[in-house]
Point group: C2
Chain length 208, copies 2
């Protein structure tokens, strides 16, 4: 049933995350209340600023001796009071230059310089029934990892996995949802490309 937004009210007054209440008028004349959480201020909510991206998530990988490796975070997440695997991520500071945010987060969390960045998803809401949080996703080729530059509140160690071990790792470990799926996209895309390269090399050899 179609409904029209009448009002949005901020229910909490916290620094990094707040609860909002929106009131909709439905086609049948009844009102409907919907609660959601947001990292944004009332005037920048997703219903007002649709272009804004809250955070970036990035899969860092490097090549060494002809093999490809990905780097995961093993990170303490306060809402879970637990360590979980996920990928490098951070809030966007430069809406018009999110690649600089990608490079900063890789420098801080992974301790590496970035060689190239490829956008895998321009924007997508992490869980649109609950929040207006919007993220962009990337693959980033990095140089070999070095020293991390973490903030005082961050507790992150790194886990390096060979491309071909991704499926088994995901079978045996819990990884954040977008991180898990980005790893799967990376895996299948790379296996497919390797197969295509092999085919075209075989074809070239045959034609010589």
């Amino acid at each position: 049933m179609k409904s029209k937004l009448i009002e949005v009210k901020q229910l909490t007054d916290l620094k990094f995350l707040n609860m909002y209440q929106s009131t909709f008028l439905m086609e049948n004349g009844k009102t409907r209340i919907y609660y959601f959480a947001s990292r944004r201020s009332l005037d920048q909510l997703g219903c007002k600023n649709t272009e804004y991206v809250d955070a970036i998530k990035v899969l860092p990988y490097f090549k060494k001796n002809g093999k490809t490796y990905v780097v995961l975070n093993y990170e303490f997440r306060s809402p879970l009071n637990a360590y979980t695997y996920d990928l490098c991520a951070g809030l966007v500071e430069h809406q018009n230059d999110k690649e600089s945010d990608v490079k900063r987060e890789i420098f801080e969390e992974v301790g590496a310089k970035v060689k190239s960045v490829k956008q895998v998803m321009k924007s997508g809401h992490t869980t649109a029934g609950l929040t207006d949080e919007n993220i962009s996703c990337y693959f980033a080729e990095i140089e070999d990892i070095g020293e991390q530059h973490l903030e005082e509140t961050e507790d992150i160690t790194r886990e390096i996995i060979a491309l071909e071990d991704i499926p088994e790792f995901l079978e045996n470990n819990t990884v954040g949802a977008t991180g898990n799926l980005l790893l799967q996209v990376f895996y299948y895309k790379n296996i497919l490309e390797m197969k295509e390269n092999k085919e075209s090399t075989a074809k070239d050899n045959f034609e010589m």
Copy 2:
């Protein structure tokens, strides 16, 4: 820096989503406050019940005349006050039989019977910096789509896309983050399988 959970307090008293405040004691003796949103009650929060899965997300697909098609939702999302593309989803009602939740949501939102279900991700947090929400992801082969069975508050139309059109669709449209990535996994996995099947057929033909 490592920290120890001291206390979790519920800040709001709403029906479907609440704001929580956790207090941590850090190694340096200082306390640290962290706010997060949750669909769960205080005694079932992610820091207490790690196995609980809040919701399922499923990519429905069908085969017709030798081609594969996926079904997307075009759905009104209240936190965005907008229609966005995403995949079929719903809250889990049967923790020990989530396939029944997959089938119910496909019946309601897609209007189809399910032929088979494949788990793509057992569990993963949608955005662990903001909420303890945990989801499971699936691919489901369905029979051709029929009539939807939506709830009064749901406003969902369906969009059918051929497998090979997925990359162009994602290039030109915004899709929820896990939905977008599930579509990419499905695309690359299927293209890879088609290539492998072709190879093994070519090999069989050669060996005959």
